[in-house]
């Protein structure tokens, strides 16, 4: 079959009209998204807001981690959340109950957030309210370990959650997502004694197999609440971000 137009004439015999030319383009397919992401990043940098893109499978505890984070830091760090889900306002509501500003993006059938969706959300969700500047904006992406990895939103940091109720070989199964991570959080770590098949060491080994030096830390935002190492990491990131902003 002809590869040019799919007709039944063998490819080498297929005539090409004289007015056909091939032009070299060599442009990234994500250029339009990346351009919008750059625009978002400029917007974030104007208020000096640190933006963290939170990604994981559905149900690995992103919202719960944010609820507990809000409870612990909201008196000293001004945080806000953009939620991405296919439907419902539920997650944004959960965060508002913690006294945090939250905006829900309902993606409909889209399995990921993209820079344009975030851009549009920012029109309704300012980073400065009553003279108060948002220190950290969390973007909780749609629960999905595949698609969100391909779309830059303008964030400064990517955090990927891996819960102990999943397989510890997830980094090997979803290399694109885990390679994009600046931090991997092993969530629901209080369940480790009951999860015989999940070994943190094996998860770390699978992550190293991707040729990355990404740090790994554990959180338990459930009953045995312990997210101290995460809060410490957040504080460190915020300090680092502010220093970088001053230099820039």
């Amino acid at each position: 079959m002809c590869e040019t137009c799919g007709c039944s004439v063998p490819d080498q015999n297929h005539p090409t009209p004289a007015d056909t030319h091939t032009v070299e383009v060599l442009r990234g397919l994500m250029d339009a998204n990346d351009h919008a992401a750059g625009h978002n990043r400029e917007h974030f940098n104007r208020t000096g807001t640190l933006v963290i893109n939170l990604m994981s499978s559905p149900g690995s505890g992103k919202t719960q981690l944010l609820e507990h984070t809000a409870r612990l830091v909201k008196d000293r760090i001004n945080i806000a959340v953009i939620e991405g889900d296919l439907e419902t306002e539920n997650d944004a509501e959960r965060l508002r109950k913690q006294g945090v500003r939250a905006h829900q993006i309902a993606t409909g059938s889209a399995c990921h957030l993209d820079a344009h969706l975030v851009h549009r959300a920012l029109h309704d969700f300012p980073l400065e309210v009553d003279g108060q500047i948002t220190d950290i904006l969390f973007i909780e992406n749609v629960g999905n370990l595949v698609c969100p990895a391909a779309f830059d939103l303008g964030q400064h940091v990517n955090v990927v959650l891996l819960s102990t109720t999943e397989g510890d070989d997830k980094p090997a199964k979803y290399p694109v997502m885990f390679r994009a991570a600046d931090l991997v959080v092993i969530s629901k770590s209080d369940l480790l004694p009951y999860m015989d098949d999940f070994k943190v060491e094996r998860a770390e080994q699978a992550l190293r197999g991707l040729g990355v030096e990404t740090p790994v830390l554990r959180t338990a935002a459930g009953r045995q609440e312990d997210i101290a190492s995460w809060i410490e990491w957040l504080d460190g990131q915020l300090t680092k971000h502010r220093q970088q902003q001053q230099v820039a």
Partner: protein, 134 residues
Amino acid sequence: MHELSVCEALLAQVRATATANGADGVGRITVRLGPLSGVEPDLLAQAFTIARNGPMTAEASLHIETQPIRLRCRDCGNENEAEANRLLCKACGSYRTDLISGDELLLARVELHGVSRHPTNSTDSEQQERPDHV
């Protein structure tokens, strides 16, 4: 399945290229794709058959050039090919490696129709010899 979004972005670029060159149609579209781009070639090809229906690209075809994953080791300097989930140096086993290729997601080239400076004599084009693909 984000391949449909990626495909729509691809076709937007293709149409922009065609318009910029004064073309009236698009033939073969060549895309360069690495396994670490997060885009599956088969799904992109499938999405293409849906997304191409629109101005200028209804008759277009998609050709995907898959790129190998290649690494350079920061410890021993060795360069080697690798699997998507085993990005370690094959010489010394180090995980301190840099990706040289394998995450490409590029529109490489587009075949444009109707860009001739003498567009009047296209009726007997079947008599013309087919030039090699660039």
